[in-house]
Amino acid sequence: MASGIKGIISLGVGESDFVTPWHIREASVYSLERGHTNYTPNSGLPELRQQICRYLHKKFGLEYDYSQEILITVGVSEAIDIALRCVLEPGDEVIIPEPCFVSYKPCTLMAGGAPKTVSTQEANHFKLMPEDLEEAITDKSKVLLMSYPNNPTGAVMNREELEAVARIVEKHDLLVISDEIYSELNYNGDHVSFSSLPGMKERTVLLNGFSKSFAMTGWRVGYAAASEDIISAMLKVHQYTIMCAPVMGQMAAIEALKNGEKEVKRMKAHYDQRRNLIANGLNQMGLSCFEPKGAFYVFPSIKSTGMNSLNFCEELLKEEKVAVVPGDAFGQCGEGYVRCSYAASMEQITEALNRMERFLQRQQKQKKIFALNN
């Protein structure tokens, strides 16, 4: 519906508005010029896996063996799919905190698992509460699949909160698939990788990639880091379905890890200021939202308007040409919320906020007239 309308400002996009930093694009072009157009090893270029191990060590103090414990995938999306396919037996339950990325439930179902969602609440800043997790666990529970910093809510979990989750994971002997694609976009201190918690490395499949941190969504490069058992099983599925991630993207990813830190910081500083602007603007117009701490999304409540999420999004798009995403696209408990991305320019955000305010005022007026007539 949105794609046909002219003059749209979209805050509905799940990717950076920056293009991939030039030095990364240039490195990929150079690799093509030198003729790097062949298959890579199934698990990915050794140099890239080594760089990833170096990165994980430097950032989170993690120790992985690049030759046995890292697999390069076609984005984290592929990694989610094959990780689930490798660890699930038919009927195994996968606990998924919601709202969450759209593929978790379908991938679980396709892998023969049973998704068991746990609602997270605005009051808790959309963090996974240990008591809610405990309550969802049954004898069939096998995997906890979660992502912090979170898409769509912008929630992050700090060390103590993750440790509380880790204790339950250990108690019930669960595996964790931790999608940490937004790890570089944490505005509240350093990201804590779930694998780095005591005793968690063995039970965690750590997923990360280049899409969000380096603005490389279209390159489709992600990776999984886990124990040799799990990686070798994932490698089997990967090699028969994908063969290997595209070499151009892998070459670009090497450059990103080697020399990309400055650009990551630059983009993050921009997001951070836009985050302040949009969260402030939404709260002021009466769409309450908690201050998001990570990723590039805000998740305001639209309950005060009396509309449901889909309705709100459709009307806003029709009347003011601003595209946002209904919260229930990310799970039933996202109903009553919408996701706004601040991966947009300052000018676009300001204009979108103006339009949204106008929209809300008009809605309120209509409500009043309606009330008077009845």
């Binding site: 794609s3 996009v13 990717e15 593929s103 200021q273």
Partner: protein, 164 residues
């Protein structure tokens, strides 16, 4: 200098039209603090001015020519290149003056209404200065990028309107 001032300068360097109110929201400080900081930075001559980058080629007023002049200078005792550089700065035709390393000393950018005028300015005003040994004039034919801004850029957003 504190971190907040650097952030403020970086924001202003990109766009000095941002309102005080927006700056305050972006940086999470009060409007009063932003105002005071800007005043302080102006007084300290850290913020030197607020100029607008214009692509004059797209206007009717597009017959100005720009030249970059390599100037070789004999440095003077005690003051080095400073006196001569400051003297060159005084000409309103001169847009920028840099002291360079390498095969010449000063890089001087000049703007004039015709090539002839620029050439005469160099011959009469610049080359004739005491201590100037030689000049080499290069005319600018086309500007592709200036102060970090590309003049003709494909600004299309290639992203899908909605994506997960």
């Amino acid at each position: 200098m504190d971190d907040m001032k650097i952030k403020l300068l970086q924001a202003l360097e990109q766009n000095h039209k941002i309102s005080i109110k927006t700056l305050a929201t972006m940086l999470k400080i009060s409007e009063k603090e932003v105002k005071e900081m800007i005043e302080e930075l102006e007084e300290a001559k850290i913020i030197l001015g607020y100029v607008t980058l214009i692509d004059w080629e797209k206007t009717d007023n597009n017959d100005n020519v720009t030249a970059i002049i390599d100037v070789k200078v004999t440095p003077q005792r005690d003051v080095g290149f400073d006196t001569i550089a400051q003297r060159i700065c005084r000409f309103p035709e001169v847009k920028s003056v840099y002291l360079m390393s390498g095969s010449y000393d000063l890089s001087v950018m000049i703007e004039g209404t015709s090539m002839k005028k620029v050439a005469f300015f160099v011959a009469e005003k610049l080359a004739s200065l005491e201590n100037v040994q030689s000049t080499a004039t290069h005319f600018v034919l086309k500007k592709y990028k200036q102060d970090g801004i590309v003049f003709e850029e494909d600004e299309n957003d290639h992203r899908l309107v909605i994506s997960p």
